[in-house]
């Protein structure tokens, strides 16, 4: 088994795995929302409604492809592609486990350990903005244009605090590569605290989480598709599988951002105090690290659902105000403090 074959298998596996999480995530969202709101949620398609995402998928596939007459055809078709392709491909740099030794070959549970790590994620994140603006403008409907403009402004202005929070991480760990950062989160520091990013960068963590919510257009930042104001924003005019691409892209964004949060701040595959790697054999440690990482990611996915059904929505100028006047000063302050801290301790 030479390297390129392993790479292909890894790519296919992780792609299917992320799609699977995204599919299950739609069910978790609907079921979680229901249980929060004192109602049972989907329970008709399969036991506990588990086939509901399958039903949605089939529905989205079989619906008729309608392109509105006034829509600008090329932009209308390009929109969802430009939104979902970056979303699917950002998971390439996010690890999903430590490493596994199979038949004498050591395989890193990460599609590609690129040493520019989350710069790649930031770049692809801003690519997704094109998908939204083209979709909004392409369908030439006033609400979609408004939705497209809103989401562009929001995504762009929340890239900055996201970048600042990640910059502080680079100060602490000295490297961009997510795998190295994950490895560095081993052991404890200051005696009792596990060596995780959140304890080194508490303010950075909060900044990152808030900016991640804004990037993924999740409540309380779901301005671009605020149903009550602009009739579900940029994907108003979209129908079957194009709408599917937008929705799936959104959920895959969630999975990616949760993966990055866990990898940077929550000690991706390390248990707080016990180092399992030493006790378990190479194969079982690979699987166990995969499961630990997945459990942490699912916690953050649940956080997205949980927050969505608790909070009201921001207004457009408040989102901008919070972004520019709130988070960016905090980000700079965080970088200053981290730099000071490193200067004093090293």
């Amino acid at each position: 088994m030479d390297d390129w074959l392993i790479a292909i298998i890894k790519v296919v596996c992780i792609w299917v795995w992320v799609l699977l999480i995204a599919v299950v995530m739609t069910w978790v969202e609907r079921r979680g929302a229901a249980l929060i709101q004192d109602r049972p949620g989907p329970n008709r398609a399969g036991p506990f409604g588990l086939f509901q995402p399958l039903a949605d998928g089939i529905k989205l596939f079989t619906k008729e492809e309608i392109i509105p007459t006034k829509a600008r055809k090329i932009l209308y078709i390009l929109g969802p592609l430009l939104f979902s392709v970056p979303a699917f491909s950002t998971y390439a740099v996010v690890p999903f486990g430590d490493k596994i030794i199979l038949g004498g070959k050591e395989i890193i549970l990460q599609v590609s350990d690129v040493n520019i790590g989350f710069l790649f994620i930031l770049a692809l994140g801003s690519m997704a903005v094109y998908g939204v603006i083209l979709g909004g403008w392409g369908s030439s409907n006033k609400y979609s244009i408004l939705g497209g403009l809103r989401s562009t402004a929001q995504m762009v202005s929340y890239e900055v605090p996201l970048g600042l929070a990640l910059l502080a991480i680079v100060f602490v760990y000295g490297t961009f590569s997510l795998r190295d950062i994950s490895l560095a989160q081993q052991g404890t520091f200051l005696g009792f605290l596990p060596n995780w990013g959140i304890f080194k960068q508490p303010l950075g963590f909060i900044l990152f989480i808030v900016a991640a919510y804004a990037e993924a257009n999740r409540v309380p930042f779901d301005l671009p598709e605020a149903e009550s104001e602009i009739v579900s924003g940029y994907h108003t005019e979209y129908g079957s599988m194009r709408l599917g691409l937008y929705l799936f892209g959104e959920y895959v964004n969630l999975v990616t951002l949760s993966g990055v949060t866990v990898a940077l701040y929550f000690g991706s595959w390390h248990m707080p105090y016990i180092d399992l790697g030493a006790y378990l054999g190479p194969i079982s440690w690979g699987i166990v690290s995969f499961c630990i990482f997945f459990l942490k990611v699912s916690f953050f996915l649940w956080m997205f659902v949980w927050v969505r059904w608790t909070l009201p929505r921001f207004r457009y100028d408040q989102v901008m105000g919070l972004g520019w006047k709130g988070l960016i000063p905090l980000g700079l302050f965080n970088i200053f403090i981290t730099a000071l801290f490193i200067q004093l301790t090293v």
Partner: protein
Amino acid sequence: MAKPVVKKEYTLLERIYLWEILKGMKLTWGHFWFNFKACWRPGPHTIPTCWQYPEDRTREISPVFRGEHMLQRDDKGREKCIACGMCAKVCPAKCITITKGKRKEGEENKYAAKTYPASFEIDLLRCIFCGFCQEICPKEAIVLGQNFELARYTKEECILDKHKLLLNYQKAKEEGKLRPPRKRVPVVPAPPKPEKDEKAEGAEAKKSKVAAAGKAKKKPVAKKKVAEKP
């Protein structure tokens, strides 16, 4: 028009979003956890606030519910309705049409009175289920039952003819979902009449429109005139 500018003063805890957000999330977690445990219990009606309607019809419907109509029979199995047309006249939506028929000799056991409705139609598409027909009926013949599943495929099926109305009564009788007999609404007693002027003495309308049965003899004269008008 100078809009009064409002100064927003927040406490520190309110100014940072997180504290209130966490309190809100604690509350929603409470609901989630309660329902999460609830939905593991077997049986359809697990979450108390939500009825799985088609499977779980255990919700108790009030006996006075105003649902699909039915034409009642008295205890000897004879149709009570005497086709007086009061219900057709009082109906705000004008959805009841009756044609009168005289009772022949051999049909004493079929109809309670001398006249009976040859055809009795209620157009469910026009009916607003206000219950005026059952309230004004002197013989308590037409009554609104507890059936609310009125969806039908064609318009014609939505016209309830006499046969269907009697069938509804039959079904309700078997299921024991009959409407309790109408309680007489107490009315303010008649004021003591010191002098006997002609109009008050004649129209001793003892009760309001609800219990028309107990009218004084003179009254039917006026009533016959009322019934003639279409």
